[in-house]
């Protein structure tokens, strides 16, 4: 298992998933501002270089986060957590990753990307009909994290309130989350759940997929268009493409509250999945 996880971390940090690369190439094609086009050109060159050299495409390899989906029939459930922590330690020195785990009390960096509750392990689902383990690793930089927004709107504001908050968040985030970004919006549920929905919408959901609820799918398209009309552009230099995609997900909410979370994912959307079979054989997918 450790080897599979280390490989997934390595893959995620050095290669962008195909949907992200395609979206960035498309952004380069449609961008007309020379300054923004130059930024996108540097991005595309950087992606190529990182792949060729096999090194992390961005120095900020984030706080390593795992989304775990485990089949009930998978043997060795008890060892998953230990293997994930060990994989992070190993990947930190072999990939290498930047040590990003700092004790908020003492200010000391542990040096190996582990610490209290870190790496972050989210037990995402248990599948009663499966016997495989699926671990998706996400590496999000600090710039994306820094600009995250959470708010509880009064329910009467509804979806109009969501639109306003998203546009405000995009302007306040400005160039900090390394646009063009993927914007994840989580609506409803509780405070922590709306944030989880937003994070998954930004990082885990593939660009180009459509939300199953047609009303939400339409809202995504409308909001993406509005965001791009703001003209922030790649790295904030002004341009057509501020976001590559905007993904919304929602949970039913309490009658009195309308929680909304907005997560920005930088263009360097790094994710990879290790699918481990009961035999121990594994495959890395992006």
């Amino acid at each position: 298992m450790v080897r599979a996880f280390v490989e997934a971390i390595k893959r995620a940090s050095t290669h962008l998933p195909p949907d992200v690369k395609q979206a960035l190439r498309k952004a380069y094609e449609i961008e007309t501002s020379p300054a923004a086009k130059a930024q996108l050109e540097a991005i595309l060159r950087n992606i190529e270089l990182a792949e060729r050299l096999g090194v992390p495409l961005c120095q900020d390899t984030g706080v390593v986060t795992f989304y775990v989906r485990v089949g009930l029939g998978f043997p060795g459930v008890a060892h998953i957590e230990k293997a994930l922590v060990e994989a992070v330690r190993e990947a930190t020195s072999t990939v290498p990753l930047r040590p990003n785990s700092v004790d908020p009390v003492t200010g000391l960096n542990t040096g190996d990307n582990t610490g209290r509750y870190v790496p972050i392990i989210i037990w995402d689902a248990v599948d009663p009909d499966s016997s495989t383990l699926e671990v998706t690793v996400a590496l999000r930089g600090g710039g994306s994290e820094y600009t995250t927004v959470f708010s509880v709107l009064p329910p009467w504001k509804g979806l109009e309130g969501v639109k306003e908050l998203v546009l405000e968040a995009v302007i306040r985030a400005g160039a900090m989350p390394c646009p063009p970004t993927v914007i994840g919006v989580g609506i409803g549920g509780t405070a922590e759940y709306s944030m989880l929905l937003a994070k998954k919408a930004a990082t885990i959901r593939r660009i180009g997929t459509r939300h199953p609820n047609p009303v939400v799918a339409e809202l995504e398209e409308e909001l993406l268009e509005m965001v791009n009309e703001l003209g922030v552009g790649a790295m904030g230099v002004g341009g057509k493409v501020t976001a590559l995609a905007l993904h919304i997900d929602y949970a039913h909410r309490h009658p009195a509250a309308y929680p909304i979370a907005i997560a920005f994912q930088c263009w360097a959307l790094r994710r990879a999945t290790a699918r481990v079979h009961p035999s121990g054989d594994y495959v890395i997918e992006q």
Binding site: A38, R45, D60, Y146, A175, G236, V237, G238, C266
Partner: protein
Amino acid sequence: MAVHSLTTPIPEEAVRRLRVGNTIFISGVIYTARDAAHKRIAEHIERGLQLPFNLRNGVVYHCGPIAVKRNSEWVVVSAGPTTSMRMEPYEHIVIERLGARVVVGKGGMSVSTAEACKRFGAVYAIFTGGAGVLAAQAVKRVVDVHWLDLGTPEAVWVLEVENFGPLTIAIDTTGKNLIEEVLSSAAKRKWELLSKK
């Protein structure tokens, strides 16, 4: 689009010629400094302590690299910029008191930095965020490292670079601030978009 090549140490006249939107490439020696290093620099100045490095006519790079030791030599693997805005409370001190001429980062900076750029002759330039490998390609050698006790991302790395760039001037010595202008027109556009329906 004008393209300028600068070599450290960079005289004041050289940065006063630059304008927002210009592209520059830097060769010579640059110093990385991010959150903790800026804080420590400010503390040193406040207490009148000598810094272990000299930034006069120099380049400060907001960057926490991935640096590893290979055969007892430090190697920089990936070294893109970090979000500059967190350094806003300190940067005017670095420009005024330490004489830095070029500050490189990403995401833009605000009024106090722009004011210091104008008064003391400095510019703020951006390198493409996330383009860590592209940046590392320009690094020829790690000359030195200070304050490793802050951890490798936060230490001050003294890097010899060749044609580090392309960097885009985002704040010049006339007080112009590219990213702030883009964002203030976005704020106006927001109201138009929301009142459409």
